[in-house]
Symmetry: none
Subunit: 214 residues, 4 copies
Amino acid sequence: MRPTRQARSRETRDRLVRALDQKLREKAFADVSIAELAEAAGLSVGAVYRRFENKDAFIPVIFELYRERLEAFMAGEGRVEIEPDGGLRAAIHTACRVAWRFLDQHGYLVRASHIYSRLRPDLIGDEWEAMLDQARQSADQLLELFGDEVKRQDRAEAAQMFTYLMNTLPIERALYRDEGAAAVLELDDDQFVAAIADTLYGYLVTPDRPATDG
Amino acid sequence: MRPTRQARSRETRDRLVRALDQKLREKAFADVSIAELAEAAGLSVGAVYRRFENKDAFIPVIFELYRERLEAFMAGEGRVEIEPDGGLRAAIHTACRVAWRFLDQHGYLVRASHIYSRLRPDLIGDEWEAMLDQARQSADQLLELFGDEVKRQDRAEAAQMFTYLMNTLPIERALYRDEGAAAVLELDDDQFVAAIADTLYGYLVTPDRPATDG
Amino acid sequence: MRPTRQARSRETRDRLVRALDQKLREKAFADVSIAELAEAAGLSVGAVYRRFENKDAFIPVIFELYRERLEAFMAGEGRVEIEPDGGLRAAIHTACRVAWRFLDQHGYLVRASHIYSRLRPDLIGDEWEAMLDQARQSADQLLELFGDEVKRQDRAEAAQMFTYLMNTLPIERALYRDEGAAAVLELDDDQFVAAIADTLYGYLVTPDRPATDG
Amino acid sequence: MRPTRQARSRETRDRLVRALDQKLREKAFADVSIAELAEAAGLSVGAVYRRFENKDAFIPVIFELYRERLEAFMAGEGRVEIEPDGGLRAAIHTACRVAWRFLDQHGYLVRASHIYSRLRPDLIGDEWEAMLDQARQSADQLLELFGDEVKRQDRAEAAQMFTYLMNTLPIERALYRDEGAAAVLELDDDQFVAAIADTLYGYLVTPDRPATDG
DNA sequence: AATGAATGAGACTTCATTCAT
DNA sequence: CATGAATGAAGTCTCATTCAT
């Protein structure tokens, strides 16, 4: 009996997670009601509350979805081999193309994760930091690999900035297209990705600025 | 009598605007109730509805606050003279320091303006675009001034990207500090601003990438 | 000074009465707000409350308007000479045509008066009854004049019914045209008025029914 | 379980309908608040909104109540056999007595149905017209049955007027008794009904008026 | 006194959460 | 345990009435 029950429980949870994912493509989490979620999952409201204590308990799920998608992506179409011979610039361009593809498809999850990592850091905090840390390590490796091209003195700082930029630069356009700050851009996606990549590259290959007094 | 009446009317509106400003520092506009706003302004709910037709009518106020603050800032502590002799890099560093100071203080308004330029473009749209356009023109001038240092072929594209980056790069950290993507950063504010500036500089002085096939 | 003040007071009241009249053509009294009334009268809300204790105090005004219009009508285009030689049927047709003309123009006042004589009989009661009584006396005179044609035994009862019918039959159509019960009718106005008149006539010339047991 | 659930659901709706019916005896629908309705039904406000999308959704219920009552009445105490041998006058008197009994008990529903067939024809319109049409058909049959007694040339017009009168004449008194136009009447109910019936009869047996010039 | 801004009760509606069945 | 009906707090908005200026 127990395994069956567990399986059923798992199935129920999965349905809810899928329903949530579906809804987040359309609207913000705050605008999704429990009843709506229950219906989309083919469940009763009561069943939802059996799996999740309250609505906030779905917030970690958003992040979980994000991570799952990211892992699946990285293991699949996002898998890239950095060719050391291609040089740093080419490597960054490749990385940006991949990142853009992910954001273009799953940006709504990134957006929601961002929002709730702020609104409810108590509910997401740790996992979010773990992911960022992993991203930073990848950045570290990249900088290591092309150490001779990188002109930044402080390698650790460069890796942090690389991560920050990678998670920051494309988001605005990926999520909101022609609304918001991305409205200034007249580039198409490929041009935009290239520009982003050059920005990252430019940062890394620009030697430190001589100390100034301002 | 008239002036007194008008003064009272104006005073009420100002109180509400101040109350809104206050609340936006704490929470999202969607989470501010009219009753809350009224109380913060020392008014009754009815008084709110005498000044503003409905809750949505506050949305343009958010943007208005943003612009007011920006104008006041630019006319005051944000006023900077670009020294042509200092070179592009110094100019960008200066610009970033100024921008950072503004965002650090008024970023919550920028955030809210961003959000509602998406959610309700009908209510903010035009003015937002006008501001972005103005920013792009400033970028144009800067690139003009240091035309010999800039290596980007397409000047227009460079100005657009410059604007996008300026409005995008610092926001995440300014608004959310250690939550979200900015959590990777171990830099202090000055270092962060310098890194941002170098990123912008790096983009502009990196020559176009030779055409590739992917 | 006093006369001036009184005159001003009177003028204010008249403006409000006119404004109310105007509004009642468009919508029900319950849907007219005091602010709306004040604006239409070119007055301030406070000024309204100087003349009228509260909104209910306008209800008698509705009736007053009705009476004024009726009196003006009867003294003007509604003035009819009953020609004794024409016979009862012609007289009733004439009377109905006149009544119809009034209702067609001022029915909205009649409707409102009806409604509030029910909703707030304490506010209208007496005057309403006085008017009905006057109408009944006119009916009495008509029946007197054509006493030989009228077949109803109880002259008083006939006069009451005549009044009731006159105030009841045309209203529905006059006020609501093709909505409500009048929707069955495919007649034009002239035909309708003629049918109404024949109904009244038919009642008066039908001899009393012999007593029955049901 | 399902039947129980449905039964509860049904029971709730019934309670609300009963509560509405109760309230309509006291006051106009516009003056009944949802909270009031909920309390009268022994429910919470939220429960009301589970059954009815909004307040307007009760409007069709008013009409539905009217029809239910009418059908129940016609199947019960309102059931009458018209005796062809009794003649037209007796038939009309019988019909009026029946109609009066119904209106005396359920007139408030008829009134409300009338009002909302005007105010919100979109919500009631069709069914209302269907009922009126049915009434007109009944009138047609009656006129057919006593075709030799009826003196009106245009049979269709007569049926329309019969319907209009039947729906119009008794309402005022049934609903408002001594307020409004019915205040002139000093008759008791039986006398009033007889007078109404004679009015209808008189209309039908009065030959068409010879053409006149106004 | 006149003005119209302010008040605040109350209406409609939503939805997270509870609980009878 | 599952269901989905019921709860009720909270939010938006209206408007008759009051009251500071």
